[in-house]
Symmetry: C2
Amino acid sequence: MADEPLIVFTPAGKRGRFPLGTPVLQAARALGVDIDSVCGGRGICGRCQVNLAEGEFAKHGIVSRADHLSAFSEVERTYSKQKTLAHGRRLSCSTRILGDVVIDVPADSQVHRQVVRKAVEAVAIELDAAVRLHYVEVAEPDMHSPASDLLRLLEALEREWQLRSLGCDLHVVQSLQASLRQGGWKVTVAVHDESTIVAVWPGFRDKAFGMAVDVGSTTIAAHLCDLASGEVVASVGRMNPQIRFGEDLMSRVSYIMMNPGGEGDLIAAVRGAINELAAEAAQAAGIEPGDILEATFVGNPVMHHLLLGINPIELGGAPFALATDQATLLRASELGLALHPGARAFVLPCIAGHVGADAAGVVLAERPDLGDALTVLVDVGTNAEIVLGNRHRLLACSSPTGPAFEGAQISCGQRAAPGAIERVRIDPATLEPRIKVIGCELWSDDPGFAAATVKTGVTGLCGSGIIEALAELFLAGVIRRDGIINGGFAERSHRIRPDGPTFAYTLHEGAVTIRITQNDVRAIQLAKAALYAGIRLLMDRMGVETVDRIRLAGAFGSHIDVKYATVLGMLPDCDLAQVSSAGNAAGTGARIALLDRRARTTIAALVRRVEKVETAVEPKFQAHFVEAMAIPHQTAPYPHLSRVVTLPTPEPGGEGRGRTGRRSQRQRAAEPA
Amino acid sequence: MADEPLIVFTPAGKRGRFPLGTPVLQAARALGVDIDSVCGGRGICGRCQVNLAEGEFAKHGIVSRADHLSAFSEVERTYSKQKTLAHGRRLSCSTRILGDVVIDVPADSQVHRQVVRKAVEAVAIELDAAVRLHYVEVAEPDMHSPASDLLRLLEALEREWQLRSLGCDLHVVQSLQASLRQGGWKVTVAVHDESTIVAVWPGFRDKAFGMAVDVGSTTIAAHLCDLASGEVVASVGRMNPQIRFGEDLMSRVSYIMMNPGGEGDLIAAVRGAINELAAEAAQAAGIEPGDILEATFVGNPVMHHLLLGINPIELGGAPFALATDQATLLRASELGLALHPGARAFVLPCIAGHVGADAAGVVLAERPDLGDALTVLVDVGTNAEIVLGNRHRLLACSSPTGPAFEGAQISCGQRAAPGAIERVRIDPATLEPRIKVIGCELWSDDPGFAAATVKTGVTGLCGSGIIEALAELFLAGVIRRDGIINGGFAERSHRIRPDGPTFAYTLHEGAVTIRITQNDVRAIQLAKAALYAGIRLLMDRMGVETVDRIRLAGAFGSHIDVKYATVLGMLPDCDLAQVSSAGNAAGTGARIALLDRRARTTIAALVRRVEKVETAVEPKFQAHFVEAMAIPHQTAPYPHLSRVVTLPTPEPGGEGRGRTGRRSQRQRAAEPA
């Protein structure tokens, strides 16, 4: 009818004519415009706020005016007294259409909106949480037409929210009658994935929470999120208490092998820690653990299996068979988690026996499958989990780097903790070092460094410190391409001293003497050769000689200087501007799976698509490994890197001890710094 | 191709041509002929046995001969040494087609077959259990193509059994790797409803069990069934231990009202009893409770709610709102049942606040919706649950009969147990009684009755005994149409004696004196008037004056003599040949739901279709109730009954004490016995 006003919604661009007096929310619903609501148009929740766009809209042939909407209502006045209703904002449920209008739906009023991620992270998270809250008024029981309380609740959900064929958890049925009566037949219902009622509370409620958990072998970290806004309301972490059964994964698996039934101890430990984190995060956010309605999990295969209560011993030996590589949705209570009784747990899928749900999380955070850029994703733990690919193809493998990158197996190695050396510079002329330690912003040659580090001391080398020390020693010529510490330099610096049949470089002398030994170099050589060989194996399989981007996930990736990593030949040559940290990408993947239920289907499908490569049975892996023992590599070219640093020239026919070192040194001295 | 032999399957009547050498089972599968198999054609399970039909089949234009099948194979010889292979039977998986043949598939080789029910019961049960076993050989893990053990199991189930998109219980994933390795990659899988893996065992297994449970307020009965054959392998029962919280339902609900949280005691009691029954039944059948993979349940609304862990107090007062009236499928462990960890529980739906899942079971056993005959189903407990209808329409109500029919509220009433009088005959001339007691086949005037009842004694009157005593006293004129025990008869028999201001009839004198008092008559009058009024109300609603069939369910229905029940006016007039016991129809309904998964959809749909009538808000119920206080009824005609017994003639204007009694007596004496 021509005398029905026209309403246009922006930014959706949807338009239609409605009878005079139609509420704006109702018109939006009819047009399929995404406007949030928990209370179902009762003016309680304030989720459905909109703005009037005033003016003449030639494109639509209408003039949009304030008096084309009903006056500010009593409901809006009441709402704005109790909660925030920004200037000009209207509650679309209480605002009626009286003439042609253009209505703008702000992002925060949309159900499906983007969550802003930190700059370091790649893509915005689409918000579409599996759990949604719905406020309903349920018909009271009537002896004239007997229907159960559940049936009347389901009828209300269908009538008010178009939710059909819902299932209902038993615990909800058990408490339903009390909730309905306590709420005066008004309740808020939590519906999971538009399919199951998982919670009912008396009266109105508009907060639902979820927890994204990254179950690392060393630390477990959890982000508590508001499922409506996507906001992180608390972040907590703690050591994985399984450490008392073994520092690294394989020693924990050995513990189980030696102690039949011992998996129960590890399972209880990890689940207990998650419960403690949930309680801690809830307290920090001023809620109860029972307010948490969903949790998502990433972790390496062993952590993944233990979380699910699966004995991981099969992962301890060939053929490294996973019990399951499926995405797992279950009740949190099945994992012994003390969240809301209806809470669900979504555990991301593992990719292969050594490529876990943490790698799946990285894939979900980075989505290499969305672009053309050939991307390497690396998550370094005890193993390096590696994914290579783009929109056309995805490959994954794991490479046995061992724990050297985490500071283990290094004579003065330690975890990244205050007092650990994280940055190293070595003067190529004097061979004197400058260092930085975690917990202090000063370099060791800055005034006040000694005083500033009194409390922490200088206690050891963490992963990034070892990488930098080795790379600088290599660039200074002290470490040769084959990894030998060149004893010839002992003539030039007291820091290079015999250490049994080999030599060591003294980086720091204090309460603790911190040295780089030949064994330390060997350990890093083995680790970096494994990492390089894994990436290279995937490149072979892909049939490429170069990659476009390298993203380093995890704590190691966050702290390492990509230049030094490349100098050592950990990574293939790549434009250094395209080598970057992905932050805690695994944890971000867990958060994406928490906030966007569609991402769960996505990652399950992606994991199936990934071609799994098992390094242990690939003969070429060994060949790559041997060649990658040299620094940066025996044969691979590093053209990009060479533009940034001057690499010592390789000498055909091998390098004689001392002589080569000196020559390298001479060459370097002659070149611009 | 014309040179491919023709194979015809009977009784399915399906036919097709297959290449020479095709296994018979494979041909059957291709034609969609229903032949069972657990082992997938490996000659282990013996479920796929068939018979060759020899001879000339003009209809099909073929000659079916023994040499048109491959010779008795090594597999068959091995099988027949270990298990039974009846003469002439072949294993269709190991028998190949070499020429035209007619193959008969015996009933016991079909997946979907009928379970023979006892003669008293109405329809055969179609066998189609929700849980099916599948033997599979799973590919071993291979580092060259890493896939989890679960994925390879799923692939095997799809390859060998065409089962797709299966889910899998967590406990199965947790034990899967051990089972696969223990079974040498051969396992038997239990799949629920073609959708979820609920159990995995190493190696071959062909027994799966289920339990059908009738949760009565007085007794709980369970039938343990072989899910493959439908056979009942053990039947057990015990008192409902909730009796310690109250004899009848309402006193148990009162207990909860008086003791907040007390529902936990009743819930634990009923679940504990079910666990004990499961253990007892399993022991009787030589299996473990952990071998039980499914359980189905019927019960009145209060029992239904308590089983599900729902506080039933809302059922204790108007408006009698059920928490749920949906069919409920969940894990048996959610009900605290110690069956197989993957066992499922199916709880039949309640129909209305006083018409429970037991009535739904009766409907499922009787299926009044399948025929044109207008059928009344009555299940008498503390309330009578009544269903009226046929294929066109179904109505249900509950009527507050109280426990008089069960012997409660009767001066000498007792449960149906040895020593209880169950049959009564009273000589209309002498007013001397003959009785029979439970536990003795003799009548009291048979020689040896006294000796035969020494052990049990004669201890009281059970439900059927009271009905018969009252009906016989009415037919003898001692009890008037208005229910008054006629004191005038005291002149004729010492058995009629004053009892305060009223009279009583002494039925038996012994260690216990058993009398029928005026209050007993009143209690039965109230109960029978309620039952009649409930049925009549449904007939009104249906718009009918007569019904075609009456089926009495439960213990009361099994023991009662329908003639006497009709004489008292408990039931509307009906051809007595069409009034019969339905046996334990509620329990049968549970068994049907256990053995035939399609029945679950059926009963859920039927319950939704049933029109619920609440007697408490129907003014006509009161009117019917008052009129039905008379014996058999104040106004309703009993033409069918009158052909079988001679009813005392009603006297317009009321009956004078004594006079009427005598005249009735005279009339009866003048008529043929």
